[in-house]
Symmetry: C2
Subunit: 114 residues, 2 copies
């Protein structure tokens, strides 16, 4: 692999991990895999996340076009968060990460039995 190709691959993988990695972003995108959620529902799903951190990460995901935020004028708590079309395209990666983590756990358990 050429140096420039390697550098681009590093940068792209780093960018993707920045977007859906970290302590909460992957978990928020995972939580929205099933259905749209309100803030309170996300907070419940993601205990012990704080309101401040959840607000910050939702803003980041919205700015990066990974989630849509439907703000209705009816009631304050009626803001709904959903995957954007682009955001839902990370669903397969999330499921692949899950399958890989399960395989990793099996390998580590086998190793610990030795």
């Amino acid at each position: 692999m050429q140096d420039i190709e390697k550098h681009l691959l590093h940068r792209d993988v780093q960018d993707a991990l920045e977007l859906i990695g970290g302590r909460w972003r992957g978990a928020i995108m995972t939580s929205l895999c099933g259905s749209p959620k309100r803030f309170s529902e996300l907070k419940e799903d993601l205990k012990p996340i704080t309101s401040r951190v959840l607000t910050k990460e939702l803003r980041y995901l919205e700015q990066n076009k990974l989630i849509n935020v439907e703000r209705s004028t009816a009631a304050a708590n009626s803001v709904l968060y959903t995957h954007s079309e682009h955001g839902s395209s990370c669903g397969p990666i999330i499921l692949q990460l899950r399958d890989w983590a399960i395989k990793h756990r099996e390998i580590m358990l086998e190793y610990l039995k030795e």
Copy 2:
């Protein structure tokens, strides 16, 4: 999705991102995608990583069975780092992350043109 399923999915995705995420782990695994590398070659690939951080992250990846470390008695700098069989199974995820990051960049560029 049931609560327990959601919780397990969160945990598994978090575990996978812990293993190959972060500032350097994904980059180290990406760098080893092409071929085995010496410490000095990895350090060159991953500028501006420090020797202390590279040593720590390589130890982490070795403990988690993602890389093999071939220590030959010949010369100090002849230690070779390679993907383990398990480590190479994250190759497809790395390439999928790359493709997703490229698509994300295109979407953001489109948005910025609007």
